[in-house]
């Protein structure tokens, strides 16, 4: 029996090909890259704090490329899995809370049609 591995929409190596997006309208891509890289430099927040924010946002967006990239960035900024897991919980808790708070909408909606 022959097994065929289906090609995934997300390929790990595609992250290395990000630059290909700049093939068309390179001026826009260059502006994005300059902004993206500048955001990550040490400033009022440290590179490490920014990497943890990046990791949290990557999880909220559920972007596998960003999760790969920012997991590495966090390690290379000196973070450990305990700190990274706290950041992931923050993102997840906000996602959960953002859903749960809509329960008030449901309450309102039900209240409007109830006696």
């Amino acid at each position: 029996m022959e097994y065929v591995t289906a090609m995934s929409y997300y390929e790990e190596d595609d992250l290395q090909r990000f630059g290909e997006v700049g093939k068309h309208r390179p001026d826009l891509f260059e502006k994005f890259m300059a902004w993206y890289l500048a955001c990550q430099e040490d400033g009022a927040l440290s590179r490490r704090e920014k990497a943890l924010i990046g990791l949290a946002v990557a999880h909220a967006l559920q972007c596998p490329y960003c999760i790969d990239a920012f997991s590495q960035s966090c390690l290379e900024a000196g973070s450990n899995m305990e700190q990274m897991t706290e950041a992931i919980h923050m993102a997840s808790a906000l996602r959960g809370g953002a859903s749960l708070v809509h329960g008030v909408q449901a309450h309102n909606s039900v209240g409007k049609v109830s006696m």
Binding site: Q72, A77, N80
Partner: protein, 336 residues
């Protein structure tokens, strides 16, 4: 029909890179040559160690038997005396397990050299090594010790179960006799290296973390933290290959090539001698059997500082490990 294929996964097969180190240097118009003065003699006493760390570039372990003889140790001391080496940097394995270790330290000090020992902390709990901290103090030795992280999980994953706890106890003993407590006193410096296939964080930032966490959690202190990049050779290269990380790691090293790191590379200011007395440009070349340039004397007995000044340095793909990002050396990052 069976066919014999070359073994490509041996740890002795160099890692695959897109461009050679020499090409990279040439592309930046840089030539790698030693400095005008060779300041440090780095002496590797052999492969015997009480630990068997997963990333060890020496392939050291308790089962290794290759260690420097007293005869070679005498030749080393003769060279230190004759050419007045300012710094003698003693490493291994666990160099303390070599019967000539204390002789080398004492005689190097007598010759006026500053002595650094790459001390793995746990070896002081081995039989007949209990007085090591006092021996270090008596001879004013600078102690340089690996501690890959301030938590047990990461440290034990790399250096073996229980190593972290022993290392903390060893640091407490060193602190108690005046090592690593600040001021101009006895120096206890730590070495961080990543526990995996990634680059080290900025040295200043991770040093601050280590200082805070080690003091708060365990009440121990130290002087400086040096960050060192894992070299893609021996056990670490084997790990990269087994874990499917070789290509990504090597790409990372090559992309992070920083010409500003060249000037401070350790190979420019030291010469390395192995347990047999053979000479190398660094401890990593030593492990790869890449001796100094063939036109130079090959043995410690024939060392000549004039010939080693401004010498051509022998390189290979692993050298990208020392030039990535802020650079890496036995003294940590090279770009401040």
């Amino acid at each position: 029909m069976s066919q014999t294929l070359p073994v490509i996964n041996s740890p002795d097969t160099p890692p695959r890179v897109s461009a050679s180190f020499e090409q990279k240097l040439a592309g930046h118009g840089v030539e790698l040559r030693a400095a005008a003065v060779v300041e440090t003699l780095q002496v590797n006493l052999g492969k015997l160690c009480n630990q068997a760390c997963k990333h060890c570039h020496v392939d050291a372990s308790p089962r290794r038997t290759e260690i420097m003889t007293r005869e070679t140790a005498r030749e080393v001391i003769e060279t230190v005396r004759r050419f007045r080496f300012p710094i003698v940097d003693i490493t291994g394995g666990a160099p303390e397990l070599n019967p000539s270790f204390r002789y080398l330290v004492a005689e190097s000090r007598r010759a006026g050299a500053h002595v650094m020992v790459r001390h793995n902390l746990t070896v002081m709990f081995e039989p007949e090594q209990e007085d090591l901290p006092e021996f270090f103090r008596e001879h004013g030795v600078e102690v340089v010790s690996s501690l890959p992280y301030f938590l047990a999980e990461q440290t034990d994953a790399q250096r073996g179960g229980g190593v972290f706890q022993k290392s903390i106890e060893a640091m407490q003993r060193l602190n108690a006799i005046g090592y690593g407590v600040g001021g101009d006193g006895l120096k206890l410096n730590l070495v961080y290296n990543p526990v995996g296939a990634f680059l080290p964080p900025p040295q200043g930032s991770i040093e601050a973390d280590f200082k805070r966490e080690l003091r708060q959690r365990y009440g121990v202190t130290f002087d400086r933290l040096y960050t060192i990049t894992n070299m893609p050779i021996k056990r670490f290269l084997d790990y990269l290959r087994r874990s499917g990380n070789e290509e990504r790691y090597m790409r990372k090293l090559v992309e992070a090539f920083n010409p500003a790191a060249i000037e401070g590379l350790m190979c420019r200011s030291l010469v390395s001698v192995d347990w047999t007395g053979r000479l190398y440009d660094c401890d990593f070349n030593q492990m790869l059997d890449l001796g100094v340039a063939p036109e130079l004397p090959q043995s410690i007995a024939d060392f000549d500082p004039e010939k080693f000044a401004r010498r051509r340095i022998i390189t290979d793909a692993h050298c990208f490990g020392c030039t990535a990002g802020a650079g890496s050396s036995c003294g940590g990052a090279v770009v401040k």
